[in-house]
Symmetry: C2
Subunit: 391 residues, 2 copies
């Protein structure tokens, strides 16, 4: 196995009676807070009012930026940067899911840099010496952004969707209350569950790199947790156990612990980011459509045992099958879970996507090196083939 | 499940080529370092020389305190406190196992307090406002002290062994190099493995409190990792995979992650601390002798399913057995693992312990409330009964 460094300093308040601590935690970070949120679901659910009351009672001055898009736009981030500078904001509070948190992270880093345009940071035209402190109140279990140091931002002008990663944007404090996800619609619950699976698959579960057995076992259990509780959350949206298990699993799928020195490009994410950059689809849904096809395309005699392991350890496939047969059954079981159990549409054509942009998206997905390195190295030609399998 | 707070800020360098980073990390914390170690095995292994070279090259001034005992004495801690104050130490570097790290932690807290005697802190006669920063280079997989905020210190005058817990003594940086455990003798490897199992059992695996399914599954896997790799490490002391899996498991058994809001007194630890306070036995060995008897004593129709789960999920016991039968088989499998596979002596009498102090030890173990609360509440009478089962 490879050497690695692990550190994750985010403080997590987990549970249904924790939000009262928001006041003391915010006040410890400053006086002026920028409250960032998305399309307004937090106003309908009453969470917005609760948060504002707590912040006011803690003596905070509140500025606001609502309307952060799914696949958040760099122009929205730039609006936030302007508010932070004009108002002298001390701390950013993201109340929402991955998009709201990601936008807040890049905002926080841009504010303390020498540019007004966050895209300069993402394109490495300049660097930031740090970031404003970030707090989050999570409202959907999916991206793990609440306890990681990365963010993904879209530029609608250039149709690019690109990551920003810096230890400075790791949230200081995150509030994870499963009851805040009771109102997440079935479609978003399903897409979020696919996103968790994709994080585990893409970063570490399917890899050519050596890995630590203990962490491999834990990855199995995180996957099994999703497979167990996502269907329950879909049937009973206010099942606390199901929502709590999904929420904590989403966090640990991407906070660094399970990686243990395995570092690779994230093939499904690279391919999906191009889809959502051009077609603005839901990230987790794009991943769900891609994952089984990617596995089918890359399956060979050398890696079949890894795909079979998914089958036996997560989906209960017969361990006595050959690696190849077991792998094929595993891919079937995964597809059945994603498209029948979770109920996600299985084809890109269902989302209005045709092959007209496949060539250019595949080239962008492979980046300047022309190869997505990972479980199997993918060229633009491979990526086009995988996209076509998804039509 | 219960609400909980999780935060653990320790930075971990894991692997065989990480020690070079010790210099930069130490220098970031100050100029003057106190190097704390135990009986001298680090001199025989060459680790001492490596550490000293790296610190000198980083421009650090080094003071030393060697000879920290297993079950470290409060008088040794006090010696360290005196050195820290006389030399104006900025940072404490513990090179060793749980005893060395625990002694360093209480030293670090006492230095910044208003007393010369660490026992005042442990007895709550005074409090410390913080602690000097602590670094560790771990040399045995066992206690998890390298990434937790607790320490246990012995007072040989009063025959007491008591904990000190403070977020301030959480190590800032820990170096976990599995090759540093290649020379750990078989007996200590076995006792350390029993200690890991005990942490998982005692804090959370066996509990009356509600728990999160995802974390329960992960506890199974940590236990399976110990059961898989401890026998390999015993047969092949320089097996990197085995040592690495044990090392990282010992850390995650006690760093807070798997607890998830389950908080209870740690019954086997409470009972064992009395044994090692009076008889100075190896902590992990005492735990190994106690654990199966404790489970046998507390087994009832309500909790049998939990003990059976250990059997089916960790030791491969037939899942179709009744809860009660499964639990009995699980206890047999656990005993077989601890006493036959790990080769630890199974009786307190093997360690020269008779029943002469059982009454007083049982009273102390139950503390001022007279009850150890946990999986099953234990009175002094229960504790005596369990001790007697171990003779």
């Amino acid at each position: 196995m490879n050497d690695f460094v692990f550190q994750n300093t985010t403080k997590i308040y987990f549970g249904k009676d924790q939000l009262a601590h928001l006041g003391e935690e915010a006040a410890a970070l400053g006086k002026k807070v920028l409250l960032v949120y998305g399309g307004g679901s937090i106003k309908r659910s009453g969470l917005y009012d609760k948060v504002v009351d707590i912040l006011k009672n803690a003596g905070m001055t509140i500025s606001e930026l609502g309307g952060v898009e799914p696949n958040p736009h760099h122009t929205t981030v730039n609006k936030g940067v302007q508010i932070c500078r004009e108002e002298g904001i001390d701390v950013i509070l993201a109340v929402g899911g991955g998009s709201t948190i990601d936008a807040s992270k890049v905002m926080a880093a841009t504010v303390v840099s020498d540019t007004d345009d966050c895209w300069d940071l993402i394109m490495n035209k300049t660097t930031s010496p740090g970031a404003l402190p970030i707090m989050t109140v999570l409202t959907i279990a999916a991206t793990g952004s609440e306890m990681d140091a990365g963010a993904v931002i879209s530029n609608v002008d250039t149709q690019e969707k690109l990551p920003y990663v810096s230890p400075a944007v790791l949230p200081t404090v995150s509030f994870l209350d499963p009851t805040n996800t009771f109102t997440v619609p079935a479609y978003q619950t399903a897409a979020g569950s696919a996103d968790m699976i994709a994080h585990i698959f893409d970063v570490v579960y399917f890899s050519k790199q050596p890995r630590m057995d203990m962490l491999y076992r834990i990855q199995d259990e995180l996957l099994k947790t999703v497979v167990t509780f996502a269907p329950i959350a879909l049937k009973e949206p206010d099942n606390y156990e199901a929502r709590a298990n999904l929420m904590w699993t989403s966090t640990w799928a991407l906070n660094g612990f399970i990686f243990g020195g395995v570092e690779q490009m994230t093939p499904c994410h690279m391919m999906e980011h191009e889809l959502s950059a051009v077609y603005n689809i839901t990230h987790g849904h794009g991943l769900a459509i891609l994952m089984p096809r990617w596995l089918k395309y890359t399956l060979n005699d050398d890696n079949a045992w890894q795909i079979k392991r998914l089958g036996t350890n997560v989906f209960g496939i017969d361990a006595s099958l050959s690696d190849r047969e077991g792998a094929e059954k595993a891919i079937e079981a995964l597809s059945d879970f994603l498209f029948n159990t979770l109920g996600l549409d299985s084809q890109l054509s269902d989302l209005g996507i045709d092959e007209s942009h496949f060539e250019e998206m595949a080239k962008k997905a492979c980046g300047p090196t022309g190869v997505i390195e990972g479980f199997a190295d993918l060229t633009p030609e491979d990526v086009v083939n995988i996209y076509k399998m998804c039509l």
